[in-house]
Structure formats: C-alpha cells, structure tokens
Amino acid sequence: MLQSKSFVKKTKQGRIQKVVREHYLRDDVYCGFVPCSACDAAAERKLDAAAAAILVVDTNVVLHQIDLLENPAIEDVVLLSVVLDEVKNKNLAVFNRIKALCTNKARRFYVFANEQHRDTYVKDMVGESSNDRNDRAIRVAACWYQSHLGESTKVLLITNDRDNKRKAIEEGLNAETVESYVRSLAQPGLLDLVVVPTSGDVTMEDAEDHRPSKKKVIYNEHKPMSEVTSGLRCGIYHQGKLRVNRYNPFEAYVGSESIGDEIVIHGRSNMNRAFDGDIVAVELLPQDQWHESKSFIADDDEEEEDVHLAPNSADDAPRNTSSTQSTVGSSAPSVSSRPIGRVVGIIKRNWNSYCGSLEPMPMPAGSRGVAHALFVSKDRRIPKIRIQTRQLENLVNKRIIVAVDSWDVLSRYPSGHYVRTIGDIGDKETETEVVLIENDINTRPFSTQVLACLPPLPWTLSLEDLSNPNRQDLRHVRVFSVDPPGCRDIDDALHCTLLPNGNFEVGVHIADVTNFVHPGTPLDEEAAQRGTSVYLVGQRIDMLPKPLTEDVCSLRADVERLAFSVIWEMTPDADIISTRYTKSVIKSCAAMSYVEAQARMDDSRLVDPLTVDLRNLNSLAKIMRQRRCERGALTLASAEVKFEIDSETHDPLDIGMYQIREANQMIEEFMLAANISVAEKILKYFPLCSLLRRHPSPTKEMLEPLLRTASSVGLNLDVSSSKALAESLDNAKSNDPYFNKLIRILATRCMTQAVYFCSGDLTFSEYYHYGLAASLYTHFTSPIRRYADVVVHRLLAAALDIAKLPPIFQDGPQLTGIADNLNYRHRNAQMASRASVELHTLIYFRTRPTDTEARIVKVKANGFIVFVPKFGIEGPIYLTPRGDKGGDWVVDEVHQRVTKPGTNISYAVLQTVRIHMEVVEPQPHRPKLQLTLI
C-alpha cells in the first residue's frame, strides 16, 4: 500500500479566497537520537548518545547566532521544520547556511519535521499571532522530545525570548538563553560569537550599554510592516532592492518597478539603516527637493576615493557622477530629473558577514574584559560596524570577518559580532584571501565525491573512443595551439590545410570536457556552482580538478586528446563555404606561446609547414577582422597590466602593459567565428533553451560621460549605432599619438559587460551582441575554465544527435538560474582579478616611488581624476587640501577645465600631467597608494 493507514487528515483554512488544504500528519517521523529504541531501526540518526543535552533552538537563535551554530563546539541540535520554514522566509542566506549544517555528515544537526508529526502538530488558536503559535509549536516539540527520550537525557530549549523562556520553564522544560548556555560550555572564545541581544530579548548581565550616554535619535523609525504594505498598495511607497554606489557609499539607488525608474537616495540618514541588497520601501521626496548634491572627489570627511585599477566597463566604473557634475559651481541647486527618495522601511534584510579590519584605536588600559571597537569593511558600500570583543589585542591590525546583527535608531552604526580572523593586514596571503571571500569564490579543495568522478588516471585514449562512430580521427591533421606563455589549461587548438580546390579547411578544436564531466554528477554540480576558473596574479583557482584542467582535457602537444571540432571550408577571401561540427581525436604538434607564433610568422626565412599554416590563418583572420569591423564591431581598448612575479617571494618584480600581438588577434578571430557558428547551430535546434551571450547596446545616458569629454576637446562622436560609433572612433585623431587609444579606453568603460541568458527568456532582437556587432553569440571555446561552454557543448552534442539533452534543459527557470549564476560568478571572478592586480600594484610601489605621466580623465571641484596608462590605474589628485571643499578653483563644465581664478593655472580633461606615485601610511598598517602633482 502506498498510503499509510495511520494518517489523520486535517485541513488548514485561511486566505481570502478560502483555500482548503490538506495537511497529512504521520507517525513515521523519527527522533534521530542514536540509542532510541522506540523509533524505526532504519531511520537516520544523528544525535549522540553521549550528548550533555539535546538542544532545541528557536527561530531567532538560528537567524542571529548562525556563526555560533557553525562553530564545532555546538552539536546535537534539533532543528524543527517550523523553525526552518521561518528562517527561510526571513533570511535565505542564513537558511542556506543552516541547511548546509543539517546536510553535513560531520555535524550532528538533526531535522525534525514537527509540523508533520502526529503528536507535535499544533493547531492555530483563535487570536494567537503566528509568532506565538510557532513558539508554542517549538515548546510542544521540545516537550515531546523530553518525554520521548526520557528523563535520563536532558532536552534544552535555547531561546533569547524572555516570554518563551518563562512559558517553557512553567511547562516543565529546561530552557536557557544563548549566552548562559555558551557560558556553561566554559570556552571564552565562543562568547565573541554570541550576538548581543537587542531590546525585548533577555539582557545579559554584563552587557551594559557602552554607547554615548546622551542617547540621541539618529535615524527615523522604520514604519511598521502593515503601514508599509498598505503604503505600497496605494502607491505612496515604492519597493525595490537598494544598491549602494560602490564608489560613493553615501549614494544609493532603488530600482522601482512601480515608477519604472531608479530612485536615488542621498546620504546615510535617507538610507535609514538600509544595507546594500536589502529590499526596501522608499518614499519619494517632494519634487522641489530633487536636487543633486555637489560632487567632490571625496564626499564626506570620513570617506575618500582610493587609487584603483582603471575600469574596463561601466560595471567597474563609478556610477553617474557625470550628471551630478552639471551643478558643480552653481550655488543654487538645480532640479534633477531623477526621482529622489528616502527609505521608510526594510522589507527584507540582506545582512551578511564582511571582511575588513578594526578602526585603529588606543588600547584600553588593562585590556581585560569586554572592549568596544568599530569595524571597517573593505567593501566600501558597507557602513562601519560596532562590535564587542574580549580579545581586542588579538584583533587590531588583523583582517577579520564580522557579521551584522542589528541597527538601532539611536546608533549611528550597526552592531555586529566578530566571526573569525583571516590574518595580518597587508600580508599578501591574507589580502588575497580577503579578495576571494569578498567575491564569494570557492577555494575549498574538491571533495572526494567530486574527485571520484574523474576518469582513471593516467588517462589514455581508448579503443572505445576510436571506434565511436561519432568521433572522427583527426590525428593525422597538423593541429597546434597558441596561448599565453605558461598556459597549462589549453582549451583550443587549430589547423589550416590547403585543399586541392584552392580553398582552406580550417578547424577549431576545443577540449572535449563534456566527455569527462557528465550532467548531474557531483563533478558537474561543483563546476556549475564555481562557474568559472578565477585568475589572480600568480594564482589560478580552477573550475575543474587539476588532472582534468592541466592534463586530461588540456590539448597539450604530442599527446592524443579528445576534442569537439568546428571545421569550415573557407575561400582564400575567408568566405565560409561550409561548416561542420564533430567530436574528434587530435594530436597537437605544437603548443606555442603568442610570442613564439608571432616570431615564426615574422621570420621570413621560415617556410616549414607549421609556419605556413600560421601565416595562412593570419591572413584569413585579418580579412575576417576587417569584415567584422565593417559590420560595426567596436575595437575597444582596455588597459590590462601584467606583472612579472618573483618565483621565490611571489612579489611583483615588474609591471607593464599587456602587449597585444597579431597572433593574439588571430586566435581571437577564429574563436569568435567558432562561437558564432555554434550559436547559430544550437539556436536552430533549441530555440527555447539555448545558452547565449548578449551585449546590450549602451543607452544615451551611459555614453553621456564619453560625449561630454569628447565635445570638450571638440570631438563629435556619433553614437546612434555601434557601426556609427566605430567609425567615429576610427576618425578620432589628433597629433597626440595616444589620443585615439585614450578615447577608446573611455568608450569601453561606458559600456556594460556582455551577459549570458537563456534564449527562451528574450526575443530575437534582444540577442544582439553590440560590441561584436553579431546578431548571435555564445561561448563554446573555453570549456575547461568556463561552465557556460560546458552547457553549450552539451547543447551542440544534442543538436548533432550524438548525445541526449540533459533534463535540466526542459526546465526554463532552472536554466535561467544557471545563466544568472554564471553572470554572478563571472562578475565576481573579474572583480577578484582586478582586486588582485590592485593588491600587487600596491606591493610593487611600496618599495618603488615613481614619477610618471598621467592623463586627466575627469575634472572635479577640488581636483581631478587621472589615469596612469603605464600602470593601468587611476586615482584622485587633490588641488586643495583635504577637507577644504573647493572654493579656490572654478570648474568650467563645457570645457571640462578647472582653473584657479586670477592665475593662468588650469587643468583640462585629457591633458597630460606629471605625477608622483608613492605608498604612504596615513595610519599605521593601512598602506595606500597616493598620487601627487609634480
């Protein structure tokens, strides 16, 4: 029988529509206590017989004390389904952490489905709030455990809710607060992890308030939820996710669907304790108050702009400071077109833990007992966080992780607690770890389950592979690869053969990763989660385990490897006559670096077959590139730097611009062509579930800074289409040789980055890739280091009918979820790379103060921002001392020029200036790179 006879049926009623739902109660929900003899012998068991107490925790304990729960000192915890449901509704991030604890085999956290158990289900009572009902359910479940396990085992309810604790004790339960329980464990270090309870909770004996005695209300109270809901309904308030400007934490934006525009929020008091990522309710200010604040390089005395890596796209660049500039200089604030508002309530918190360090402070005398300190996050969007610690002397000058717990209207800063220490500030390993944590990059070694999915090593080509009718043997073809020097993960290789009819057969061979990574396996899931390999200076964090990345999949020279090939027949004019796709076996004859390949092509004495192939490919690539540019593809420029790293100390020895050679462009051209050919093929077969890549056209507003700069130097750019822009960029010439490159760099940073998407989610016209001027594009050519390419390989294999399409492709939302995750991972990987370059730049200049040339890219009221081409960085130069808000200098908006009245000293955008670069330590252990005018 499928249905157990012992079910009791109950119906829950509710909702306006009167929905009747069934709720089955059961007698086969077990306690999970190892020695229990009453429960089914085969049931899963986790709670240890030797436990001093079985802990039952309430929702708030999970929500607020998750760092404590994650500590291995806490074990034998029962998580009730009522608690898990509430946690999930209130904070998904915490829910995922508690879920990880519950599924971790090494931890003793047991899930008890109290809502399904016949004896622990509680009916709603008339007039009872859902909070009270849930508290009651928790107590009923705790009572059940106590009577089920018997008196010899202590069941302890952990709650910080005074009322709940009292009721529990009245009902004959053991109940304690988090703090008193942790104290009973006698491990002082654990106490730092305990979150200080807020009002309404049980106060701790020694947690008297250390905040300034004259309590002043700093923020407005948040409106109660009922008021927020009704305000949203009648349109007074607007709901959206708050995003804080990465470069100016005093400005935030809320994308609101209800008014179809972004609402700007100025200042911390208007942000009203909202964090980046919170879902907030916003009230618009009266329209006459919609003026923009004056823009200075540093907006507040406690924050300042740092020297950072020059942005490569609009996603890296400070947002929209251009439009705020229009008012600089005029004393009467003009009215902005963008709605301005303030936060009235927070619908969903996005509190997290953050990396940073304590603000330098004098050591309190004695330094025993509890100290109070301010934590400064590395992520500038996050305000300072107040913490209590019993180990201050261990934490100063360290990078630490702190979690936020609460933010009171009386407190300028939120309160939080210490989670763990990463290492010394400024130490390369520590700072690198900070970068990785901040960007949510998984650096854990691959699990044994993942490694179990690897093929037997050492891998060799099997007869089975060779006899596979879908796999073509191309070992006789002269295939080779060209990559950056020292590349171990070789994704792609090429061949180019002259055909008897005078045409060329050109093949792009891509590592056949999906031959080894099968859908749904732990290896596949891990790779899908990681999404991409991450490249830091001198370090690589792989998406796939090393044996696959560097050996089995890597198309190394002189070994037989499996590939997925795109093969064209091309005329000498690079017209594609036919395209075919096949799985293959190849044996690369050479793995060259760009420099080597370039040298071969340039050396006219060489006429060996390989060099001839290279030259043929190069001439085809040039034609293809030419054609692509004619279609309107943008030749954008970015300032990528390269370090030479000391092999022993791993410190940077030299720094310089990454040089792009013809050989790089040649490889790039064929990869683009392969990606486009594959995109066409998969979309034809799977119009609704193909993974593609699009590059949205920049809006007029996004190009605004570029146009302003260009017009100030008398250059007119046509931005009506990518083709028009490409042509204007080609025509942007002056007697300054660097001028064109500089304009291209400025254009690049106005564009957003390309993104992955699922073809079913958008219409065909939205598939367009603006930068490449391609109507279709995808990623096929780097499956070793990008999961998107793995997905595309599977789609292509299914389109060729040589493999089944995994079931996940039937599930639109799940596919969209994969695309979203890939976009998130790529973004993070890029930010991590940039942060790593910034870190190494700082280390490099620590011992090498340098004078160099820089170009002004933006003029401000009290100085300007310069771009240093040689090192790819940009940063502020102050004309007036810090804190002095301009006055001496006058900004000419039209010509983007700042002038000192009464003198002929002035600085204009794009002007070259000589600067001095030096690492200074305004505060001990807080080194920073400083730029000054010579």
């Binding site: 029988m1 499928l2 249905q3 009747v20 069934e22 709720h23 089955y24 998580l79 389904s81 079931p807």
Partner: protein
C-alpha cells in the same frame, strides 16, 4: 518553490513523494440512478451516476447496433474550485474530459453483450483539488459496478508528476499548478493494460518511464481499494437480504 522539502523530504501537504492522498469511495449515493458512486482523492470529490443499459433513445447515434452505446457527460460544479468562476456548459475542457472518460470506460465495458442499448454515465466534480480526471474515472468504475454493468476488468486511473527532480504521485492542486509535467494513466488492472495515457509536457524518456511506473503503482493501489469497497458493499447487501 520547493515542492519537496530537501531537508525533510516531505511534500507541501506532508506526504512523501510516492504517497497517495486519502481515498474514500461509496456506492449507491444517488437513489434514482441504476448505479452511482462518490469518490474522493484527498479534497478532490467526484460523484458519478450510471443509467442503463436501457433501450437506445436516438438510433442515429449508434454506430454499431451489435454493441451498446456508451455516453458520458462530465461537468464541474461551479462551487468546486476556489474562485467560483462561472463556466459555460460544454466548454472545450469538459468536452475533452467527457470523451476521455467515455473512451476509457468503453474499453472495459463488455458492450457486445448489450446490443441495441445505451449506457449513460454522468460525472460531476463537487470539489476540485487536482487529479479530477483520475477521480472521475475511478468514480465511474465504481458506479458502473454498482449498476451491475458487465465489465472485462476494473479500470482505475491515477496521475503522477515530476517536480524538483522527483517523481510525485497523485498531484494536488498546488503541485498541479506548478506547471511541471503531469502524467495521467488509466489501466485495466488485472489485464495490466494501459487504456489511458495523457501528458501535456516534455519529459526525457527515462524520467517519463519512472513517472509512469509510479502512476501505474497508484492505479493498482486504487484498484485494491475499489475492490475492498465493492466487496464491503456486497457483504452489506447480503446482510440486508438476510
């Protein structure tokens, strides 16, 4: 949404993936009909009434005079769903379900034993909470048996779906509204023959087989239950007669 809680393994209503809702069957609920039955699968409640075999009323409808004509009319009570929408009679969905029920029942009725006669099956959904199609077929089977219509075998029906990468038996309304694949199967239980198979989504072959297998298990369980109900009823009638 998580239709199967990953931590507890339970579905939204507390069932495990392979569990059916509570079944309830009762015969003889409409006194005037020749046979009738009430059938419940959880909150889905369906009533069926059978008239016949009786003399054919409209000879034009009869295709083959050597076999009985089976007619079926399906209706959904206006109060059966939460939103109490007024639905026009004879809408496409009703016509389609009427046809499905008729064809499924025809497969088990020994029509050749009743030439020149007709059998009318009326099915009405009193309360809808997913799986109405299956509940109608099960109710019709009970009602036909109650009317003493000769049948080859007992036809039963059950649905199974696929959500959160898990095959789920007997979807309720919430699960049904998730938009995932929903396979409705009808079988002749003793002969082990499939007489109805419907799905309006795509599923990979191997997954489909698992889901269908689960639905067949469900049909068999329902058949066992229907036999119990009929046996119970027969015993009761015996007692009444003394």
């Amino acid at each position: 949404m998580e239709y199967v809680n990953p931590l507890t393994g339970f579905r939204v209503d507390g069932r495990r993936p392979n569990e059916m809702r509570q079944l309830k069957g009762e015969v003889g609920v409409v006194a005037r009909a020749d046979g009738s039955a009430l059938f419940e699968m959880g909150n889905t409640r369906v009533i069926a009434a059978v008239y016949g075999p009786r003399e054919i009323q409209n000879r034009g409808q009869q295709v083959n005079s050597n076999e009985a004509l089976v007619r079926c009319e399906y209706r959904m009570a206006e109060f059966s769903t939460g939103d109490r929408r007024r639905k026009p009679k004879g809408d496409r969905r009703s016509t389609e379900i009427s046809l499905v029920i008729r064809q499924t029942m025809e497969a088990s009725i020994l029509t050749h034993l009743m030439p020149r006669s007709q059998i009318d099956i009326f099915v009405q959904v009193l309360q809808a909470d997913g799986g109405t199609r299956s509940a109608c077929i099960n109710a019709a089977t009970l009602a036909l048996a109650d009317a003493g219509i000769p049948m080859r075998d007992i036809v039963t029906s059950c649905s199974a779906g696929y959500l959160c990468s898990t095959p789920l038996l007997d979807l309720n309304y919430i699960e049904d509204s998730a938009g995932g694949p929903d396979v409705t199967v009808g079988i002749l239980t003793k002969m082990d023959k499939v007489t109805l198979l419907q799905m309006d989504a795509k599923l990979p072959m191997d997954t489909f087989e698992n889901v269908m297998e689960l639905a067949i298990e469900g049909c068999k369980a329902i058949a066992t239950y229907i036999r119990e109900v009929l046996l119970e009823n027969t015993k009761r009638l015996e007692c009444q007669r003394g």
